[in-house]
């Protein structure tokens, strides 16, 4: 895998990993296999965020290759990469608000795991988008919960115990409350980083900033490492000191897209429907990923 000069296979361990909210060291630019190896552990709560755009596929495939198990996968819009992680047996739990193949249909590996427990049983914790977004906001803000107008009258609170209510101390009004989410690791994909590990992403930026800031550890994969981050309208910049590692991964969001770099491969999303419907087809696909080290 191509990577910038400062990271190589013999790079020392990532300095900041695991120091939660106290990370003043600059993110290290390290190869993706090392970053995943050091930052993602069995049993972790892992968020690979992205709202249709900049989905961290390369990082997800590396998690599959490293055969992580018993992960709790968190994401507002779990799509193909979560279907793949679930089918590969990496996950025991999914926390989400909309799970599907955008523009195509269902996630068949997720459905199979839910219905039959293949290859491993999958629990779910289900929210609305507004609820999930606010859970990340609370996590990023160092608060235990967030308040919103939501869920009232729906059947979700019956099934999800991270939804509750709170009373306004000024008006007495009852509002929905959701528990903060603080992933052990958040992984995002971005257009680029500078050599100090500052990361820049633009286009639809979703909930990525909040997901990174809510996490105990974080990794950004990037299309390229550059000398200078030219300002871009609408860009979100994540300072290197809130990231534990940055890994070059050109094309790392494909088949989703990277605004300004490449388009969404809609054919691949469509093709996934057939692959994922069939355990054998999926298993063959999985082998190609595992062997593409």
């Amino acid at each position: 895998m191509p990577h910038a000069g400062t990271g190589d296979a013999a790079a020392p361990p990532i300095a900041g990993a695991g120091r939660a909210h106290y990370r003043s060291d600059v993110a290290k630019i390290v190869p993706l296999p090392q970053a995943v190896s050091e930052l993602v552990h069995d049993g972790d709560t892992v968020a690979l965020e992205g709202f249709t755009h900049l989905i961290p596929f390369a990082a997800g495939h590396e998690i599959i290759r490293q055969r992580r198990r018993d992960l709790t996968l968190v994401r507002m819009t779990p799509d193909l990469i979560y279907d793949q992680l679930i089918g590969a047996g990496c996950a025991s739990r999914m926390v989400f608000s909309w799970g599907g193949n955008p523009g195509v249909g269902s996630l068949h590996r997720m459905r199979d795991a839910l219905a039959t427990g293949w290859p491993a049983p999958l629990e779910i914790e289900e929210h609305s988008h507004a609820g999930m977004a606010n859970r990340y906001v609370a996590g990023a803000s160092g608060l235990p919960f967030a308040v919103l107008r939501g869920y009232s009258g729906t059947d979700l609170p019956t099934h999800t115990d991270t939804i509750s209510t709170v009373e306004c101390p000024f008006t007495g009004e009852r509002l929905a409350a959701v528990a903060a989410i603080n992933p052990d690791v958040t992984i995002v994909h971005a257009q680029r980083a500078d050599r100090e590990g500052n990361v820049q992403l633009w286009g639809i930026t979703g909930v990525q900033k909040e997901a990174v800031l809510a996490a105990r550890r974080s990794l950004a994969t990037v299309e390229e490492v550059v000398d200078e981050l030219e300002p871009v309208p609408g860009a979100v910049v994540l300072p290197g000191w809130v990231l534990d590692a940055v890994s070059p991964a050109p094309g790392g969001a494909a088949p989703s897209y990277a605004h300004g770099y490449y388009d969404r491969d809609n054919a691949a999303y469509r093709a996934w429907d057939a692959i994922s419907r069939d355990r054998e087809a999926f298993t063959r696909w999985l082998r190609t990923i595992e062997e593409a080290a």
């Binding site: 709202f51 249709t52 909309w98 929210h127 609305s128 009852r174 930026t205 979703g206 809609n266």
Partner: protein, 265 residues
């Protein structure tokens, strides 16, 4: 998914039932309104309205794209074309907290797998939650769109399995269990004011909040609508027929291309 030719197939009338539905939905949007758009049928209808009588319709997608003017239809809620053609792109928390939640959006445009007699919508599961017959994608932005928009318009194909007495799961509240329920639940928008289907239009009865048939598309009968509705469908006293698609409407709709449509048959 392609439309089943229930009625008004192109051969017979010059347009498909889906086309009539999209055109009828587009017509209900007024110029200058701010519209929170779900993907699929609502997105088609809203973008059609923008090309017809509502050039200043403000389209908002939950991916954070504000006042977006795509020249092709997006395939997903987060397509690049939505960001490129937007007045501005904000974060996903911001779109829900600052834009949707305070009630500053005029129209929420939704679809679903099931809608019930009282306009409640299900996009979560068919069957029991823990042992579903069909696991659907889930909530997405719909619960809060249904709660907070000034009014909600639902666009769905009219099928027996989708128009049910009571949804299996209330993902998004329509009129809850009756006309006062939204107020009791603290929901501030008016809820579904119209369900536009490929057969006609249903609207809540002011007294009971029950969806009743208020319009039929050209060539559709009350019996056809009743046959595809899972409750005893009432018909409004002033039932009207939808005006057929104009040439401009049809041509504009057919000229709209979906992003990447070369690849998606």
């Amino acid at each position: 998914m392609s439309a089943e030719p229930v009625a008004g197939t192109q051969a017979a009338s010059g347009w498909t039932a889906d086309e009539m539905m999209s055109i009828a939905a587009a017509r209900t949007l007024r110029d200058g309104q701010a519209c929170f758009v779900g993907i699929g049928l609502p997105s088609t209808a809203a973008n059609l309205a923008r090309r017809l009588h509502a050039p200043r319709l403000v389209l908002i997608y939950e991916s954070g794209t504000l006042d977006t003017r795509p020249d092709e239809l997006p395939l997903s809620i987060g397509d690049g074309i939505l960001a490129e053609s937007a007045l501005t792109v904000v974060s996903v928390p911001e779109i829900f907290n600052y834009w949707l939640q305070p009630g500053r959006i005029d129209v929420g445009f939704l679809s679903g797998a099931q809608v019930d007699r009282l306009g409640n919508i299900n996009t979560t599961v068919i069957g029991e939650y823990d042992e579903p017959t069909v696991r659907l994608p889930g909530s997405g932005g719909a619960p809060e769109i249904a709660a907070s928009c000034r009014e909600v318009i639902v666009v769905m194909r009219h099928r027996m399995r989708a128009f049910v007495e009571r949804v299996d799961f209330v993902t998004s509240v329509g009129h809850g269990s009756g006309p006062d329920d939204r107020a009791l639940l603290g929901l501030r928008g008016a809820g579904p004011v119209r369900v536009i289907t490929d057969l006609g239009v249903l609207e809540p009865d002011p007294d009971t909040a029950e969806l009743v048939l208020t319009a039929l598309h050209q060539g559709i009968t009350v019996e056809q609508a009743r046959a595809e509705t899972g409750w005893p469908l009432q018909v409004a006293a002033d039932l009207v027929f939808t005006a057929p698609p104009s040439t401009t409407e049809l041509e504009t709709l057919r000229a709209m291309r979906t992003v990447g449509s070369k690849e998606i048959p």
